[in-house]
Subunit: 148 residues, 2 copies
């Protein structure tokens, strides 16, 4: 079944409400991941594409979510953490004041955690820099000896 066919079958249809639709293979290739992974994220509730003739059809929004998922993974977050982050990106336009405040608080929490992680990385980078400097010095010394 080719859900992409949906797009081909309706080529000139501007699709007023939603824009372009993507197939699962399309996304998998674009992001360089397996189909199984994408379905797995769906099982975990991180994605919820529409179904067209049994096949999965992803909107631009879904695609963006997938991007966020992968970015989260690149950062070292677990899928559970990523799920929390993703819940911050919705259409919570009709949230009550309480809800909005809650969301902002969650964003702050995620922010501080990410920043902590960032600082750890910066520290490791600094340490690696020192080690490298050390090695370079001994290397330079060895070379001086060799030349003379």
């Amino acid at each position: 079944m080719k859900q992409i066919a949906t797009r081909k079958i309706l080529p000139a249809t501007p699709a007023p409400t939603e824009g372009e639709l993507y197939g699962i293979t399309e996304l998998a290739q674009e992001f360089g991941i397996s189909l199984r992974a994408i379905r797995f994220y769906e099982d975990k509730g991180l994605l919820a594409p529409r179904r067209i003739n049994g096949g999965r059809a992803y909107t631009r929004r879904d695609r963006a979510r997938l991007g966020l998922i992968l970015r989260g993974k690149a950062v070292g977050m677990s899928l559970a953490e990523i799920e929390h982050i993703l819940s911050l990106y919705g259409d919570h336009g009709e949230g009550h004041v309480k809800q909005l405040e809650y969301l902002i608080g969650r964003i702050d929490a995620a922010t501080t955690e990410l920043d902590t992680r960032r600082r750890h990385i910066v520290a490791m980078l600094a340490e690696l820099g020192e080690v490298k400097g050390q090695l370079q010095r001994t290397l330079a010394a060895k070379r001086r000896v060799k030349k003379k």
Copy 2:
């Protein structure tokens, strides 16, 4: 068995070659991890403490390695990656020129990878900042309405 006893039994001994020794519980408490985790890291070859009367005795160097392990984890690295990083910190003072160049190359590789990760984090922080700004604006609007 109390390997810490070793330290207590030899209290005033300046221990010329090696400094202070730490017990496993000591390290576990200091770093807030389980004994099992520490032993696990040893099984994986990330730590290799000396044995005193069957008990594990950690030097300051071992302790530092454990710190690096945990920092690596905080950054989102796998134990395998951490192992690679740790191998850069040894006493490779007597390395040949080739070996030193190789090590420096590995450091560079690790550095660029970490920096990529760092940039990803920075990007996520920026996105979260935008989301927060959005929420704050809608929140402010709602409050203005409420006040009037």
